[in-house]
Amino acid sequence: MSDIPNELRYCRTHEWVSCAEDGVVTVGITDHAQDQLGDLVFVELPEVGDPFEAETECAVIESVKAASDIYCPVAGEIAEVNEALMDSPELVNDDPYGDGWLFKIAITDEADLDSLLDADGYQEILDA
């Protein structure tokens, strides 16, 4: 059973999004996603200040198995990236909802968060 914290929001493409604090949310990949990918070996993150539309490719993570695109869950501008992942991509495997976060976005429109899945909705996707 993979861990799906109740306080987060989720995308069908297996990213999680935290609640907004001062218009900024944190994004990562779910426990299920890291488990499916296997050991991560490389993470390519966007630049701070880069603007992205929702559901566009904004980062790449590579595991021992394959490369996977990360999609930006909501429209906005990159506020911060997790530099620690450059040297330690395994943080995503070890702590996907904590130290393994990928980036933070300043959201263009906080109402976009309402279109994301809650924990139950994401669980249904995994069960489907």
Binding site: D39, F42, V64
Partner: protein, 363 residues
């Protein structure tokens, strides 16, 4: 429906992530592919390779048959137990499969072939063997366990049948000891010391359990692939296939040209390429920029395409990305690799990258 080895239930009990592979259901990893890789480099790991097919060839003409069938020469196998790595070629010189041939006893040899090639290999062998007095027997009754790593042999020996254990202790590299239905060979596919053990499938679960209790880490196909890649060993279907000869697959050393009169299958086609200066060759790549090398990425030199990665990945021992690549003969010592639309610099090196736990290249 995938086939299952005798160890399937044990893989599941150990938490193996089971995946389809060459018609079999096999463990990809048991939690962390990376930790399994390190276990083999640093202590000992074991792999279920029972999906590979054992084929016994018995009969007075088994030696002359193999001298025709294989590009390497079984004349090199004069003592019982000695093993030889060889390609089996088609008439065009393309590689049908790579295999290990063991000399079991007088007039008896054993081939171990890739799972993905087993059916076509068997069909090819049966077709070629017709004029020879040789019996071909696929040994579906045997299981194969590879135990690899610096501590593999010492952890395995006490678990072997008594007299076999003593003989296994004396084995030189690329030699095997045979007793009843057991065959213990000092061979492997990881770049580390160790044994490959063929035994009755019914006895395999007990040996696997005993090895696990002795501290040998169960390892999946994932670690097997990164270990062999670091060791610079080819994977059939990626680094070689029927489209390329051994000369273009880094395996020229396995072709026994002498005696010139030995007319092995594929020889005529190979002769025309033997002294050609435009043969592609298989080299190693070490990625210098950020990213991960993957199969089929294109290589460039001064904007001109000069080859393709045949198998790439992240090398846990090196903590860098490496690949094997088929390249133009004049590639030089550097190139760039197109990774997701970017050109990333790479060094061209001569494999292996890692052998016996030691890094063999400058990084």
């Amino acid at each position: 429906m995938s086939r299952k080895t005798a160890l399937n239930a044990l893989h599941r009990a150990h938490g193996g992530r089971m995946v389809p592979f060459a018609g079999w259901e096999m463990p990809l990893h048991y939690g962390s592919q990376m930790e399994e890789h390190h276990a083999v480099r640093r202590s000992a790991g074991m792999f279920d390779v029972s999906h590979m097919l054992v084929i016994d060839l018995v009969g007075e003409q088994s030696r002359p048959f193999l001298q025709q069938l294989l590009a390497n020469d079984v004349a090199r196998l004069q003592t019982a137990g000695k093993a030889l790595y060889s390609c089996m070629l088609n008439e065009q010189g393309g590689v049908i499969d790579d295999l290990i041939v063991y000399h079991l006893r007088d007039n008896a040899f054993r081939l171990v072939v890739n799972a993905g090639c087993a059916d076509k290999d068997l069909a090819w062998i049966k077709e070629q063997v017709a004029p020879f007095a040789v019996t071909v027997t696929p040994r579906h009754d045997l299981a194969l366990i590879a135990v690899q790593g610096p501590q593999a042999r010492e952890k395995t020996r006490p678990l072997l049948p008594a007299t076999l254990a003593e003989r296994a202790a004396q084995l030189a590299a690329f030699h095997a000891a045979v007793q009843d239905q057991w065959c213990v060979a000092r061979t492997g596919y990881t770049g580390e010391d160790g044994f490959e053990i063929m035994l009755p499938a019914t006895q395999a679960p007990a040996l696997w359990q005993a090895l696990a209790e002795a501290g040998v880490a169960p390892c999946g196909l994932g670690a097997r692939d990164t270990l062999r890649l670091e060791a610079g060993m080819n994977l059939y279907g990626s680094d070689m296939d029927e489209q390329y000869s051994p000369l273009e697959s880094g395996l020229g050393w396995t072709v026994a040209w002498e005696p010139a009169a030995r007319n092995f299958i594929g020889r005529k086609a190979l002769e025309t390429k033997r002294n050609a200066i435009d043969n592609k060759r298989l080299v190693g790549l070490l990625l210098e920029g950020r990213g991960v090398l993957r199969n089929h990425q294109k290589l460039f030199s001064d904007g001109v395409e000069v080859g393709e990665a045949t198998s790439g990945g992240f090398a846990p021992t090196l903590q860098r990305s490496i690949a094997l690549a088929r390249v133009e003969p004049d590639i030089g010592d550097a190139c760039s690799v197109e990774i997701r639309g970017r050109q990333v610099p790479a060094k061209v090196i001569r494999p292996p990258f890692v052998r016996k736990g030691k890094i063999c290249i400058a990084i």
